[in-house]
Amino acid sequence: MERLRRDFSTITLVMIPVAIAINIAIGQLIYTLKVPLYLDSIGTIFVAAVAGPLAGMLTGALTNLVWGLSGINSFYTAFWITGAVIGLVAGLFSRFGWFKVWWRAIIAGVITGLIAALISAPILTYVNGGVTGSGTDVITAVFRNAGLGILPSAFAQGVSSDPLDKAISFFIVWGVIRALPLRFLDRFSRAEDIR
C-alpha cells in the first residue's frame, strides 16, 4: 500500500491532466499531419510507465471521459474502459521492465493494441452497431461480407489498426523516456523500472 500512496503524490496527480491534454493535442497534431493513425494514448502510456499502472489506468479512463464529456467528440466517452485497460496494461509492462529495450516496447505495444481491440469490440458492437464512422469501417464491411458476425468484424477492424497504433505509441514513449533527464525521473516512484 505504501508504494500505492507514493504513486499518487501531488506530482503524479498534476501529471495526469497534462498527459490527457497531451493525448488530445497529439491526436489533433496527427490529424493536421494527415497520418492514418490515432496516437491518442501516448500521454496515458507515458504516465503508466513513469507513475505506475493505477495512475496509467486513471489517465486512460479520464482521457476518454473528458474528451467525450467536452462534447467535442462524445463518441469517445463510452470507450473509457478501453482507455483504462491501455493504461493498466502499459503500467504492468513497464513494471516488468518492458520499456528498457526498444523492441520489447514495440512487442508490448502490439499486445496492448490487441487487448484494446478486444475490449473495444463489444462496446463498438453494442453502442455503435459495430462501426466507427471512420475509414476503417471499410475493413469491417469486408469481413461482414465474408460472413463474419458483427462482433468478430468489429474486433477485426480493431486488430487492423490498434496494434500498429499502440506499437508506434509505445516506441515513441520508449524514446521519450530515454530522453528524460535523470533529475525528472528521480521524482517518480517507478523510475527504476524503466531506465
Binding site: R178, P181, R183
Partner: protein
C-alpha cells in the same frame, strides 16, 4: 559567461558559399487574416536589405509575430507577397525556407528534442544536410558563441531556462542562414545574458547577415539595431532609423511602448537631442556646460 561573447575567427571560412549570397526581403502589401477571422496584418509593405539589423516593436497583438512568420513561410499572405532573395515564400515549404531564414523561437521548451546540448545544436544543420565536417565545425562555433562549449554533453533539461534559450539560439546560428530572426531573445536573461546576445547580434551584423528581432526590451533594441519598425493594429506605424523612431514620444505612446531609459531622461531634462547611448548622453550633458 563573460559579457560580449567570444567570436572565434576561424569559422568564417566554414560558412557555406550559398548562405552568404546577398538576400533582400521584400514584403509587398501583405495582409493576413487568421482562420478565426481576426485580421492580423493590413497592407504591410517593407524591404529589408541584406545585412540590415531591424527591430520590430509594438504592443502584444500588434501583428509583430504574424509579420515575422511570413518571412520564413510559416504563414502565407492572404493578400500581397513575400519574397526572400529570389524565392516567393508561397512556392517553398518552411523546411526549404529554413536554409535561408533562421528563426529562434521565444520558448526553448517548445522545440528541444535531443538528449544532449551538442545533438540539439546539430538538429538544424542535420536537417539542412550540412556535410559531417562542416556541421561539426558550425556546431562547435555556435556553442562557443553562446558560451556553452563545456555543456555539449549535458542534458538540455539539466540547464536553467535562460541557458536552454541559448541552446536553441545556437541551434539556429549553426544553420549559418543569411537571415536570422529572433523572437524576444532577451526575455528572462540576466544582464550577462543580454550582453552575450547583444554580442551575437553584433557578430552577425559584422558577417553581413540580416538580423531581425521582435523585442519589448527597448534598451536592447536601441543598443544593437539601426532600424526600428513600430507595429500597431496590423500596420507599420513607423519605420526608420532607431535613433529617430525610438525618440518620437507620440508614436511610442500610441502603441504603449516605453521609450528607452536614456530617452525618457533626456525628455525629462528637456534636452534638445535624445541620445540612445550613454556616451551620446554624457556628450549632450557636458556639451551644455551644465
Amino acid at each position: 559567461m563573460t559579457a560580449g561573447g567570444q567570436r572565434t575567427t576561424d569559422d568564417r571560412g566554414a560558412a557555406t558559399g550559398a548562405a552568404l549570397a546577398p538576400m533582400p526581403i521584400v514584403v509587398a502589401n501583405v495582409s493576413f487574416t487568421y482562420p478565426s477571422g481576426t485580421q492580423a496584418l493590413r497592407g504591410v509593405s517593407l524591404r529589408v536589405a541584406p545585412g540590415e539589423a531591424v527591430a520590430i516593436v509594438g504592443e502584444n497583438g500588434a501583428g509583430k509575430t504574424t509579420l515575422v512568420k511570413h518571412l520564413n513561410g510559416l504563414l502565407k499572405p492572404s493578400e500581397g507577397s513575400v519574397v526572400v532573395g529570389d524565392w516567393d515564400t508561397r512556392e517553398h515549404t518552411v523546411a526549404k525556407m529554413a536554409a535561408r531564414v533562421g528563426y529562434v523561437f521565444q520558448n526553448p521548451d517548445d522545440q528541444i528534442v535531443e538528449r544532449t546540448v551538442g545533438d540539439e545544436v546539430a538538429f538544424g544543420p542535420r536537417r539542412l544536410g550540412q556535410p559531417e565536417a562542416e556541421r561539426q565545425a558550425n556546431v562547435a562555433a555556435a556553442l562557443a558563441t553562446v558560451g556553452l562549449t563545456d555543456a555539449a554533453a549535458t542534458h538540455p533539461y539539466d540547464l536553467t531556462t535562460p541557458q536552454r534559450k541559448l541552446v536553441t539560439l545556437a541551434s539556429v546560428l549553426a544553420m549559418r542562414t543569411p537571415i536570422v530572426i529572433f523572437d524576444e531573445p532577451t526575455m528572462g536573461q540576466d544582464a550577462g545574458g543580454v550582453a552575450l546576445i547583444g554580442g551575437i547580434v553584433e557578430s552577425l551584423k559584422a558577417e553581413g547577415r540580416t538580423v531581425l528581432t521582435i523585442t519589448h526590451d527597448i534598451d536592447f533594441c536601441a543598443a544593437h539595431f539601426g532600424r526600428a519598425i513600430v507595429m500597431a493594429a496590423g500596420q507599420a506605424l513607423a519605420d526608420g532609423p532607431a535613433a529617430e523612431v525610438l525618440t518620437r514620444a507620440d508614436v511610442l505612446a500610441t502603441t504603449n511602448v516605453e521609450p528607452p531609459q536614456l530617452v525618457r531622461l533626456a525628455q525629462a531634462l528637456r534636452l534638445a537631442r535624445a541620445p540612445l547611448t550613454v556616451e551620446g548622453f554624457v556628450a549632450e550633458i557636458v556639451g551644455r556646460g551644465q
